[in-house]
Amino acid sequence: MNPKSRPGWIKPVALGGALVLFLVLIDSRLGPLPSLGRFFNPFSGFWLNADDGRPKDVKLRAPGLNETVSIVFDKRQVPHIFAQNAHDLFFAQGYITARDRLWQMEIQTLAAAGRLAEILGPEMIEHDRFQRRLGIPQAAGQAVEMMKKNGESWQAAQAYAEGVNAWIAEMEPGDYPLEYKLLDYAPGHWTPLNTALLNKHMQWTLSGMGDDLPLTNTLSKFGADFIALYFPERRGDVPTVIPSGTPWGPRADSSSAAGPDSLGGFFRSIPFLRVPDPDLRDSAAGGGPTKSQPAPRSKGPASPDPLPVLPKSPTPGNGSNNFVVSGSRTLGGHPILANDPHLDLGLPSIWYEVQLSAPGIAVYGVSLPGAPAVVIGFNRKIAWGMTNGNDDVFDWYRITFKDSTLGEYMHGKQWKPTRKVVEAIKVRGGATVLDTVVYTHQGPLVLKSQERPANRNSPSMHALRWLALDPSDELLGFIRIMKSRDYGEFSAALEPFHCPSQNFAFASVSGDIAMFHHGLFPRKWKGQGRFTMDGSEPGNDWSGWLPRSAEPAVRNPAQGWLFSANQTPADSTYPFYLGSGFADGQRPKRLAQLLSESDSLTPDGAFRILMDDYDMHASELLPALLERIAKAPLSPEDSAARRDLAAWDYRHTAHGKAPALFDAWWRQLYRAIWQDEFGADSTHYQWPDKDRTRRMILEEPDADWYDNITTSPRETLGFLAARTFREACALTRTGGKGREWAAYRPVQIRHLARIDAFSSLGVESGGCGDCVNALKSTHGPSWRMVVELGQEPRGYGIYPGGQSGNPGSAHYGEFIRDWAGGKSYPLLFLRGPGSEAGAISYRISLRGK
């Protein structure tokens, strides 16, 4: 090419242009990709998150501290924080938690606040709108005001925030956690509001549930008799959290004990509520036979269209276990406490292990990154653990508005004004979206007419009454709990803890064991809030609260052991209605069996109970089902599978094949029984649950429900069982062989942003939803802890993650393998920063001014 044939300036300009173009290209974010230039830059991009795993002892200045704080890290990277005062303790907890978990801390609170669109762009607008409509940001603001009034929790949250911000200030952009670089944004300023938002997030996870809407749809389609028969409020054969026979009322130990004689008087002093809505009462109260309308099989008159139900967010079947055994039934003669909260499994883990020590405080346990204090753990005198209470504090009211402005609504035969709050949703790369949230006195109108938010369950034109929207200060509860030294202090410490209600298991070195089914309970008429309610009827409103002394609780029962597994808290003699969403499955039955059989428990034995993989659903159902297909014509392969299943010991071991076949069979059969009755829009209805369906199979083998109403021949249970067994064999057969449980049900511990590369997928472990080790695919034991309350409490624990939140660190998922294998670690509870030097990895000394 002859250079003289074109002007000479073209070349430098074209090349300069190409250079600029290239830089612009790798500077911009293309779809989900980060800016390649920024991200790959080895001086400040992701390469700086490649942790070299060589921590060194360091001394840092942290202006804001009053005195020097020593933080000692053990071999598992658990910080043991030693401070001279509470302020410095929580400052250091915030500082070090932010160092290890900042991205997780912030993204959880931004999600709760409905602020994800600020970071992730327009596709998160509907998520954010839903959070605002739930009223969560407003409620978090009120919770902050309450903390300010209480003082102690406010000071802790403030000090924690100072610590988080001290860490943030120390970082250069190159030090930001990996996810900030990937999503290309910077950490914001941390305030106590973030801590309050985290609490709202937990309240949503644990109390934002219920099946009011699908159950209401089922009620209107099948009638009250069907509900009464197939949705029993309690199962008779599942032991309650508080053992039967426990007296209700003020406990003998409380200072204001009135004595057993006055119990009747006590309960008479709490006015019972009248049931206001006759339509609801019939079904709500468990199906009075007043309306003898037979359950219509779908050939009956058309029922109204169901309100759409979208897949629920808080997982149904969320559950946990805890138990306490008194010294009389343990080998060492000391009480043993165990707990495994079942939550969505995620990375970074929901838990962060920590020891906190300051004058008046010495506690070890797991904390929630984003909140000061310890949530589940032990100190030198007591240990405690929690399972979700599952009480119904989440109710829906149908609202009649005067007109489409939603300015006034009917209540008690009057038009009353609504309250409107305008929420501004900031959007990355887009205009701010304004949304008006309409409040009635019950609560926010979550969905306006015809609105369909993605992936949530809520009826349109209904107001939400939810306890989490009332101000409360659970943090104050946790701070007092971790300082408690005995039963009395622990019981008093629970007072500020309102929501979500929990079964608090308690044990002390002085030998006490106890269980509190604790929370703030609205005073309800029987069945109130089980279905959606008429919001114009004042009698449907919550009216006041049960006094603390009415809560189901027990101390040192004669049987010597207590447990909870989210089941019904109290037997039918308990006079108040707490809800009907309790998890009366097979798990509590199995736990009770194991505990009643164990009279010389050891910490190891307690851990083995947590790992128990025996499935009582299968053990009760399978023999009867196999009976049904004993004579069914099967292929040689399917016959062999039937023989293998008959020889199964009902244990969900990782490498067993029978559990996969059984599970597939059950799922096919359950669907075959109910799908036809509920029809094409079947997901909008609540189906009779697993336990009721099993009982039906065992006790009502000739029920009408086995017939497929869409076909003319009449199907029987035996026919369905054989057909679905063949289907299950085909489903679980790969390469001519049955599939192993761990391959059929791979455990997936997913990164919070659902980034597969940062997730741990295909973890192999046993357990099942009905097992004590309730390990499902993405949900299960998030922290297993056993504490023996000897002279020196000794703890053992493990969670499926690691202390570091950095996917580039060896400590990111380092416990997962041991967790899956059922191992636990001795928890190192240090006396002082200098003790047990051999167990220490490194130290950080934080100096104040």
Partner: protein
Amino acid sequence: MALLILFAAALAGGYIFPWWWPAIAAYGIGFWLPRNAASAFASGFAGAGLAWAGLAAFLDWRNHHLLSGRIAALFHLQTGWAVVALTGILGGLMGGLGAWAGYALRAYAMPRPAGVATVPVGGTAGSLSADGETGIPDSPESADTDADPDPGRTAAT
């Protein structure tokens, strides 16, 4: 020579300047040192690319290839080494394009005086850097580059 200077500049400046620093450094060095377009691009690519890939490889080795494996999965690459290579290519392209553009400006703004003799040499990065050190005069030889000699060579060597 240009390669070594850019390598050093990319490393030293990387800790101070934004991520696009190698492009700027290469532009200046491209203006200043090379004798032809091919050597400008090659030394720019190699200098910045090796700086980025080298640092990445060091960080990767220290991390036992843990993070590079995850990033590889994120970008659907096979191994962590591909991530190191991609890092090098991104740095290299910035350096190469930068040096070439710098060289082109120089060639336009300060054209070679007519009649200066040229001696052909190889156009690879390695030989170019050796050229700089030994002072052997170079020449544009390849068909894909313009025959702009480097008038600043004497000053540079």
